[in-house]
């Protein structure tokens, strides 16, 4: 196995129905497109493997969209292509995202057999009303059924996504969701607060409300700022009390079950992303694939590579910025010595002012050569992390 490690991200942009809050690059497409997409995707995998022959793949993440909504035989083809052309480490973490309403037990069993060893289940809430509000296609029952099916199929590393700040959510319903989830004993929990993104139906419905809330004014539908804050804190406290440790702003895991693939993003280890909108970081160049599925298919099928429409060689300044604002997302933060080893300059020589300021504001802590966000800093991470952007020269 080569020494150089690579994370591999595979984007499956297909959904049964698009959720009302979702702004990811995904949608509802017919079977022809799905088939053509997988053709293009496997071509891209093959093409990229040629220049990445000296990497070994330490983690794979199949995300979307809804990967489990893809036909089994097409997914089968994708996974087999990966194993055929890449040096996948025997212990590699291989995650697949799934929607509770879309995966059958036989499918899960088959994917597990092919090598997928981690599932990330998008539950969001166990409250049926809240699921409807979000426009999710599944019920809580679907979740229970698929979770049990996953366990029976051999998955011993399962993550559950939970959402706070859903319109109509209250501390009681959130606590119910959490205890419902804890009963299933997942190994990992991701807990995000609902963000009203532009271009989504939620933005049309709640955009104005959200703006008011951001200004600290009374809002109508969304939980108030104080309520949202309390919901977030409730979730954080309960998840930690249930034996999970928080290793990143929004992620919690049982011992040894942190998501290696995502940690790779924060630590800036190289990764390849395939599929529409997927991003890669290889040799400090960031590539971003086209978001246009027709263009992707057209070029991919005819092997008209590359498929990225953006490539940016990251300047040292940008690498330093990323080192900080990505690294500090992790609870353990960053080692000042790592910064020195990576860039050959002392962290203080670049970031003394923001560090001092954040330390004095109690958003950041320094402990034996390690810098990390405090709980308050994590709550205000946008504010805190933006301090590490350097002035343009």
């Amino acid at each position: 196995m080569p020494d150089k490690k690579l994370g591999l991200y595979i984007h499956i942009p297909f959904c049964m129905k698009k959720c009302l809050y979702c702004d990811f690059c995904s949608g509802v497409y017919g079977p022809e497109i799905r088939k053509d997409y997988v053709k293009a995707l496997t071509n891209e995998l093959r093409y990229q493997s040629e220049r990445l022959y000296d990497y070994s793949v330490a983690s794979i993440y199949i995300g979307g969209g809804t990967p489990t909504w893809l036909e089994e035989k097409l997914m089968d083809r994708v996974i087999k292509t990966v194993f055929k052309y890449y040096n996948v480490e025997p212990a590699a973490e291989i995650t697949m995202e799934m929607n509770p309403a879309t995966a059958s037990e036989s499918q899960l069993f088959s994917y597990h057999t092919l090598g997928v060893n981690r599932l990330s289940i998008g539950l969001q809430s166990s409250n049926e009303e809240e699921l409807r509000t979000l426009g999710r296609v599944h019920s809580f029952k679907d979740f229970l059924r698929s979770f049990e099916a996953a366990r029976r199929s051999g998955f011993d590393n399962i993550s559950v996504d939970i959402m706070t700040g859903i319109p109509g959510q209250n501390p009681l319903s959130l606590k119910k969701t959490l205890s419902d989830v804890f009963l299933m004993k997942p190994e990992h929990i991701s807990c995000y607060s609902l963000i009203i993104e532009e271009g989504t139906p939620f933005h049309d419905m709640y955009g104005e409300d959200d703006e008011k809330r951001k200004r600290g004014e009374p809002q109508e539908f969304l939980p108030s700022e104080d309520e949202e804050y309390e919901l977030g804190k409730t979730a954080q406290n309960m998840i930690k009390a249930a034996g999970f440790s928080q290793y990143e702003i929004s992620n919690y895991a049982k011992l040894g079950k942190a998501c290696l693939h995502n940690v790779g993003y924060w630590k800036r280890t190289p990764y390849l992303g395939v599929g529409i909108s997927a991003a890669s970081l290889i040799d400090e160049i960031r590539y971003t694939n086209t978001r246009d599925i027709n263009e992707y298919i057209r070029k991919g099928i005819s092997s008209n590579f590359p498929l990225y429409n953006e490539a940016e060689a990251l300047s040292e300044k940008k690498r330093m910025e990323e080192f900080m604002f990505l690294g500090l997302r992790m609870t353990e933060g960053i080692l000042e010595n790592d910064f020195y080893e990576t860039f050959g300059v002392l962290l203080d020589s670049v970031y003394m002012l923001p560090v001092e300021r954040l330390l004095s504001e109690k958003l950041l802590k320094r402990d034996r050569g390690r810098l990390f966000l405090t709980e308050l800093g994590a709550d205000l991470s946008n504010y805190a992390l933006s301090m590490f952007l350097l002035d343009k020269d």
């Binding site: 993003y265 960031r286 301090m387």
Partner: protein
């Protein structure tokens, strides 16, 4: 001049807005020649090339037209353009004083309107002969007969001979030219008397210095003459005399009584050539200056600060350049704790302020923060000393103040009957003192009020327009100072007084303004890690308060598939917002917050 005074006409065009003043001016320029036949052959081409080489842009304040009348004689018309805003009333009055007649343009579809009357009165004040012209007769809704009747009834001008035209199509415009010859008077003047001329405008040109625009009343001026400005006392040697072609200066040998033209004399700045001053011969001066000269004083002051502190020298240079061309603009350096180094600038009025601000931003590429405009208050101290206060921050301690005075104006508002009630209400709200109400005809009234200047400099004009649906017009003149119950309103942000936000206000409206300021600031100050009280205080007593709540949660959405660039953009947006902030104590205040309080009454 071979034809003498009898073949010169000096006039302006007056009209209500949109009645066709500029269109008619364009038409007249188009229909006439710019040079006499003799001049045509001699001078033009060379001169125009020269102009082009030098790249001089000329604001045309006056234009000379050559018209060969139906009788075959050649006439010189000097058309003098007048600014159209109450801020520049004085300039308008001087331009009118340079004329002998005025063309009154009335829209045949609209009839006589507020500004029609206001302008007529202004013209009559200067003893101008008025030639009515009924315009836009091509419009389907035009009613020439009714319009003529209205002019006769309301203004009292005979319309029997009035040209009925369409300036747009050119229909009957020839009649206007003939009427100018017949109905408007020729200038009077004594060629042999000492030189005497009225300055009605001036322009700074970086090659030639100040170009002075004037009307000769008596005598002659030519290059080489030694002239004196009677008010400022400045003396110069004339370098060039000439008259105005459209968009160009055309030199000539001399300018004599009755003529309108320009001169250059290596004058370095417009402050020595004040509008309204009389120019005379230094060797053989005239006995008395022409009447009506006023030294123009700024009525409105505000602080102007560069958004980027490093641009302070650029702002100073820009102001100096603008001042070369604008005798009414004043400025002196000042410092603000909140805004750093800047200038306290004086203007004729709010429009003047806005024009200067816009020119600084556009022509000089400066990003500005301005403080609330203020009038000049008179503060009488207990020791008897009087201070003219232009910056609210300099107000002495209340214990040292005996009393204060504020400037008031005589305001004339012309309004249609239906809106009289609303406008009176507005004037009362603005602390107006009712003087009179006269109906100039059945549907139109002139309301006279004495109003405090500080009540009209912000948004009075806008309020007037909106409450009268655009039918009211407004004119004012400084009346003097009156004793008034005034106080200083301070704004405290996180318990720190922000000097740039302080202003003087009438006691009775302090609470209302303070509350509105706090509300506006709350909207414009971003949330911080801590709670920020915003308070309005008068003499240490807090009269209004708002709170910017502390920021509790500010996190990014899920980071998907290694898409870092999107996260970066969000963080960059956050950081970008910070750049344009001013630190007041611990609080970062965006530039917009300072500007937002200037428009309190917009909602």
């Amino acid at each position: 001049m071979e034809n003498g005074l009898s073949h010169i006409r000096n006039f302006c065009i007056i009209a209500h807005i949109d009645h066709g003043k500029s269109t008619l001016a364009d038409r007249l320029i188009e229909m006439t020649g710019v040079l006499t036949e003799r001049e045509m052959s001699e001078q033009v081409l060379d001169n125009m090339d020269l102009e082009r080489e030098r790249g001089i842009t000329i604001k045309s304040q006056a234009v000379r037209l050559i018209y060969r009348s139906d009788s075959g004689e050649e006439y010189i018309f000097n058309l003098i353009d007048t600014p159209g805003h109450v801020d520049f009333n004085y300039e308008v009055s001087r331009a009118l004083a340079a004329c002998d007649g005025a063309i009154l343009v009335v829209d045949a579809a609209q009839g006589v309107e507020a500004q029609t009357l206001a302008n007529v009165y202004l013209a009559l004040d200067h003893d101008l002969e008025i030639l009515p012209v009924i315009n836009k007769i091509d419009l389907p809704s035009a009613d020439q007969a009714e319009c003529a009747k209205e002019i006769e009834d309301v203004i009292g001008l005979d319309c029997e001979e009035a040209p009925r035209i369409s300036a747009k199509t050119g229909l009957n415009c020839h009649d206007v030219l003939e009427s100018i010859v017949k109905a408007l008077p020729a200038p009077k003047g004594d060629m042999n008397a000492p030189f005497k001329a009225l300055i009605f405008d001036s322009l700074y040109d970086s090659y030639r210095g100040v170009i002075v625009f004037f009307r000769v009343f008596d005598g002659v001026v030519k290059p080489g003459d030694r002239i004196r400005m009677m008010a400022t006392g400045a003396v110069f040697n004339v370098v060039e005399t000439g008259y105005f072609g459209p968009g160009q200066f055309i030199p000539c040998d001399e300018l004599s009584a009755g003529m309108v033209g320009y001169l250059t004399a290596s004058i370095k700045d417009v402050h020595e050539t004040r509008v309204g001053d009389t120019i005379t011969s230094d060797e053989k001066p005239c006995e008395a200056a022409l009447p009506g000269y006023k030294a123009v004083h700024p009525m409105v002051y505000c602080g102007m600060y560069p958004a980027d502190g490093a641009k302070y020298p650029d702002l100073r240079d820009a102001l100096e350049k603008l001042q070369l061309n604008d005798a009414a603009l004043q400025f002196e350096p000042e410092t603000s704790q909140a805004l750093g180094f800047g200038f306290r600038c004086g203007f004729l009025g709010l429009l003047h302020l806005e024009i200067i601000q816009e020119r600084l931003e556009r022509e000089y590429d400066l990003d500005l923060v301005t403080t609330a405009p203020s009038v000049v208050y008179r503060v009488y101290r207990t020791d008897g000393e009087m201070i003219e206060l232009t910056n609210p921050s300099n107000l002495p301690d209340p214990s040292e103040i005996d009393h204060m005075e504020e400037p008031v104006v005589d305001a004339e508002i012309m309004v249609t009957k239906d809106y009289v009630g609303d406008i009176m209400k507005l004037c009362q709200e603005r602390r107006g003192e009712y003087v009179s109400l006269e109906y100039v005809e059945q549907t139109r009234a002139i309301l006279k009020y004495v109003l405090p200047l500080n009540e009209i400099i912000y948004d009075f004009f806008d309020a007037l327009k909106s409450r009268s649906r655009g039918y009211a017009s407004f004119d004012y003149e400084l009346k003097g100072y009156v004793k008034s119950a005034l106080c200083k309103l301070d704004i405290l942000i996180n318990k720190e007084r922000v000097d740039a936000l302080s202003f003087i206000v009438f006691e009775g409206t302090a609470y209302d303004r303070g509350r509105k300021m706090c509300e506006k600031l709350k909207e414009n100050i971003p949330r911080h890690l801590f709670e920020i009280p915003i308070q309005a205080a008068v003499g240490g007593r807090v009269i209004a308060r708002e709170t910017v709540k502390a920021m509790r949660k500010d996190v990014l959405a899920k980071c998907y598939g290694g898409d870092i660039s999107r996260k970066r953009k969000l963080l960059e947006k956050q950081k970008e917002g910070k750049k344009r902030m001013r630190m007041i104590g611990e609080v970062e205040i965006p530039q917009e917050a300072f500007m937002s309080v200037l428009k309190l009454d917009e909602e």
